[in-house]
């Protein structure tokens, strides 16, 4: 979208809050969505411009959080929880299955630019291990044998 449209969207967000700076997380999220899932120099400039903050400040805030990304990512994300409860329930086998199904290691994106695989910290689904967040929607009780069909779904969607 154009800078003017982006500005308008962010200012509308900012108007909801007692202090416009509170809008920085939703604004960064919007900038990330509109930049193909990651934030670049221009993203920080746009957010800064719309909120009256410096790009450096916006980058400093963004870099604090795991859900912002600073290098190109795939169109889809597959995040596998490997914290204690999932690990105790076999999360590593699920990670291994995704690695072999996708041909990439955690932190990498498939060559066709479709899917980024990550291992992540606790997603808050410990009783339903292993939890896999696919484009921010949880799949629970995932076993290694479920992996091919999950990847198929992601590629189809």
């Amino acid at each position: 979208v154009s800078t003017a449209e982006f500005d308008a969207k962010v200012r509308k967000l900012a108007a909801q809050f007692p202090d416009s700076k509170t809008a920085i997380l939703p604004a960064l999220r919007l900038a990330q969505e509109e930049n193909g899932g990651w934030l670049d120099t221009e993203s920080f400039e746009r957010v800064g411009e719309a909120l009256g903050l410096t790009p450096a400040y916006c980058q400093a805030v963004a870099s604090f959080y795991d859900m912002f990304h600073f290098a190109p990512v795939g169109r889809h994300s597959i995040d596998v929880c490997t914290n204690l409860s999932c690990a105790l329930s076999g999360a590593q086998e699920v990670v291994d299955a995704f690695e072999s199904e996708l041909g990439v290691a955690p932190g990498e994106t498939t060559e066709d630019g479709e899917i980024t695989l990550r291992t992540v910290e606790c997603l808050g689904g410990c009783g339903y291990a292993t939890v896999v967040s696919v484009d921010n929607r949880y799949r629970q009780f995932v076993k290694a044998q479920d992996v091919p069909s999950i990847v198929e779904d992601v590629r189809a969607g």
């Binding site: 290098a71 932190g107 990550r118």
Partner: protein
């Protein structure tokens, strides 16, 4: 309200995400009753109920509300901590997904008590589905005129464990990096936007309608005198039936693990229970005949915490468990205080050396010393959370640690105690390699 179900009452029978369904079981009647009371009377009632905070610290909710500076000319804020990120905890998520209106009703009660018209629910960014359910419920309630002059904003975090720490949460909500603040001043005096602020966990707030419905006497007759009410216990790890179980406080830990959660999976033996989420000292199988309430759990040297039990079976190596746990806290350390920022890295290095069999007895002593030099030496509790598990695994399963050194390898064999349960250290990437643009 049936005695053992407050938070999720009605959610098995009805779709309580719908306003009409929640109202059909008496929903929002208690918010109306609260509004008919003066804020002084309401706070007095909440204080008498002695509801202990469900987020981890167990601070009495009514007392916290009484500390809010209601006379301040500034706006008063109610902030609900829905940043549930403690490994092992998934109770808030279920309440938000299945009984969102109960949380909103609790918000209206708490807001009335502290004379607030501004409520923020800070929900962790990963809970997208729950955010949508909650935001929709708040909008339904607003359209139905139920919120009155109260404005409820559901605000998404962006992935940072530390934002569950209340002052870090406020920093994040104000648009800064989520780093904890020095205290005092405490939030009830100077919190969000430098204004008086009450911060409570989701389950704490969602319990308020039940307190008004049952009355102080009815509410305090459930649970134990020091810990009244019910709690939604999250049980995970190596049990047959992991999940959330809403039970009276004071229920035996053994009963929760062996009756409700079906015992240890696959007929294996219990090795350890981490009772409050991954940050607290673990218990041995001999210690589990204990009532699940704040004081009883505290009396055996650990914490009730977030009522989240991680059950560990006998295949697990405690050094590996410590390593995985510490890597999490190392990643989540906000970087503000040196003992936590640097110390967690030291611990990870030492644990890797011990697990690989390259450590000496001196390294074991050093590990214990580094832990002691982190504990109690940072602004918030994250440093403590990093070392309490390590200290307890080290002290209670000490032979295992010595065996790593004497044998020169992990006694559980190879790289891992359960084949492949713990990822190799280099795998924990959280985002594609961070080449931050210049």
């Amino acid at each position: 309200v049936p005695a053992r179900s407050m938070l999720l009452a009605g959610a098995d029978e009805r779709d309580l995400t719908k306003l009409a369904e929640y109202q059909a079981i008496g929903g929002y009647a208690q918010a109306l009753r609260a509004r008919a009371m003066t804020s002084d009377d309401l706070i007095a009632e909440l204080q008498s109920a002695t509801l202990r905070g469900r987020g981890g610290a167990g601070f009495p909710m009514g007392r916290k509300a009484s500390l809010v500076d209601r006379k301040s000319p500034k706006p008063k804020y109610l902030v609900v901590n829905a940043d549930e990120s403690e490994p092992g905890a998934f109770k808030d998520r279920e309440v938000m997904a299945r009984a969102p209106h109960r949380l909103i009703e609790g918000c209206l009660i708490a807001a009335h008590a502290i004379e607030s018209q501004e409520v923020f629910i800070y929900i962790r960014g990963e809970y997208l589905t729950e955010y949508e359910i909650l935001a929709r419920a708040a909008e339904q309630a607003r359209k139905a005129g139920i919120l009155g002059d109260v404005n409820i904003t559901v605000y998404r975090g962006a992935g940072a464990y530390i934002c569950g720490e209340e002052t870090a949460l406020l920093e994040s909500l104000e648009g800064s990096r989520g780093q904890p603040r020095p205290r005092p001043p405490f939030p009830p005096v100077q919190g969000l936007y430098m204004s008086p602020t009450e911060i409570n966990n989701v389950c704490t707030i969602a319990t308020l309608p039940a307190i008004l419905e049952l009355g102080v006497e009815g509410f305090t007759s459930i649970g134990t005198p020091g810990s009244p009410g019910t709690v939604l216990f999250s049980v995970s790890g190596n049990v047959e039936k992991p999940g959330n179980y809403e039970l009276e406080l004071g229920t035996s830990m053994r009963e929760l693990i062996y009756t409700h959660a079906g015992g240890i999976a696959g007929g294996r033996q219990l090795k350890a229970v981490i009772p409050g989420g991954s940050s607290v000292p673990a218990l041995t199988p001999r210690q589990i005949d204990v009532p699940l309430d704040f004081d009883s759990i505290g009396a055996i040297g650990t914490f009730f915490g977030a009522a989240s039990l991680i059950v560990v079976d006998d295949r697990c190596c405690m050094v590996q468990l410590a390593l995985r746990s510490t890597k999490f806290y190392m990643h989540e350390s906000c970087g503000k205080c040196t003992p936590c920022r640097e110390g967690t890295r030291w611990i990870v290095q030492l644990l890797e050396r011990i697990e690989s069999g390259d450590a000496t007895t001196a390294d074991l002593e050093l590990l214990r010393k580094v832990c002691d030099r982190i504990e109690g030496k940072s602004l918030c509790a994250l440093g403590d959370f990093a070392v309490w598990p390590v200290q307890s695994y080290f002290d209670k399963w000490h032979d295992e640690w010595v065996a790593h050194v004497e044998q020169g390898s992990c006694p559980y064999g190879g790289e891992s105690s359960i084949e492949g349960i713990f990822a190799p250290s280099d795998q924990h990437t959280h985002s594609p390699v961070a080449t931050v643009p210049a």
